[in-house]
Amino acid sequence: MRTIKNVFRRKMRAALTISGIMIGVFALIVMGAMAEKITLLVDGGTKFYGDKVTMTAGNGGGMSLGTEPLSTKTVKDVEKVEGVARASASIMLLQDTKGASVNMGIPPMIGGIDGRGKAFESFKITFAEGRDIKAGENGVAVVGADMVKKLNAKVGGNIKLRGETFKVVGIMDKTLTAPDSEVVVSMHDIQKLYVKQLPVMLRDKVDPNTVATGLTIYIEKGQNPETVAKRINKQFPNFTATGPKAFQEQVASSTKIFTSIIFGIALISLLVGGLSVVNTMTMAVTERTREIGIRKAIGATSKAIVRQFLAESAVISLSGGLLGLLFGAGFVAMANSGNTGTPLFLVTFRLVAGSLSFALILGLLSGLYPSYHAARMNPVTALRYE
């Protein structure tokens, strides 16, 4: 209580210093929340691609969206390759045919999988409501957590995807990665949607019952996915098979740089806030030189003086930290609710704890010099100070 009273003795100065810390923490929370979201998306991807090989038509590189046709017939052939346990065909389409809304991360997708790989999949999807699509069931859809609002989806209700109506049978639990922005339909339905969007000239050349855009290949235990991918590429020169390394190299490492830059900027702004705490505390010490003299005269030890000024800088930095957290979290909530797709930001516990402790540590460090200076003062000199 006394410490708080002392801090707010100079209201304007305290408010300005607290604002400095607040802006720093605000930046750290908002930018950190963006980085956290991206990190989680990438972690999800790393986990998903971690133990399997993906295969797309053409040989133009691994990370294309896989929209060039492939055939479900390839599945059987690929399964004959040494080291392959199972292959599963799938089609991925963008939900929005037009340019789509502003969205970082993964755009909303429609996916269809033949279900052959279910037993082999280590990335398990669970349901918040309803159920998964049954084998052979068509005209139904399972909706990702972040798509519920965008599509106004309810279990038992209908949604429209690329002009077709689907009955929602399930809503997936939040995974914090790719499936959150997906709607899954049966393989048969996605094949129909896929053919429908092809240019008329190409439609006749594609068999709607076998078309696929990607293959997920599950690897036998003890086999190296990269070696298996190489083997597949050798045997299927028209297709491209990529192992988990490609995702790591192309996505994970570049996002790491991106998140480091984001955190760097936020930390710099917080450091600037920290310097203003040093300034405020130094001025407070100078202004209160006489008071320090009085306190020492009536028996305060140097430790007590250090404790007093450190407590004051802790109050400043913690108030700034909490306000920054409040505004940051508020901003994140507003930005996320304004965006109907995948949320841009994710405020995690470690981000909150990290930002607050960083602000506190910074405040304490900033208060250290002024309080040490105050504690060392000779009481007689301090008492004479005007």
Partner: protein, 239 residues
Amino acid sequence: MTLIIEGKNLSKRYELGKNNHVHALRGIEIRIEQGEMVAVMGASGSGKSTVMHILGCLDKPDKGEVYIGGRRADTLVNGHLARLRSREIGFIFQGFNLVPTMSAAENVALAAEYAGHSRREAAKMAEDALRIVGLGDRLRHSPSELSGGQQQRVAIARAMVNKPGVILGDEPTGDLDSATSREIIDIMRDINLKTGTTFVLVTHNPEVGQACDRIITMQDGLVISDERADVKEDSELIA
């Protein structure tokens, strides 16, 4: 009578710049007995404030020894000096020197807290001390809401809250009008007589001197006279 404060051969020199220094004290001897009320008088620059700072363990002599309650004090480290100041010595200053953001009670309690009492105990002790100086109804007032005399009474309460053996005053009536000065002198004398607390008061005010048992007069860093009131009265009679 037992000695409560003893200064042996105290010297202090202040450096003011290159080849410029002031001999504030030039090897003085000073002995204060328990229960005495002593005035230290002299012109500005005579060294009386320096002697108070050294006897109060706020400053250290360049040469000489200081004993408080029979124990050597000038060789103690800062932490022990702080403890000594909080428990054995009380201070009253000319400018009252209260912490402006704290209430009267909080100012007094602060000294008790520094002496190691809990907040609760300290608050109770502060209330009692303020009642003794007649400010029982001003506990929650901040210094700016109190008159000069009242502020000095808070300072007296703060000085006595830990029941120290000695209270040192640096011009305790310096900022007060004569009526208020007399009030403050009476309060100090009252405490001195009732509790046996020793008072050493550095002052210009002859009224303070008159109220004391003994007057030490200083000039240029030396003690030039040390008179007891009874002796003084006798010598006046003879004259």
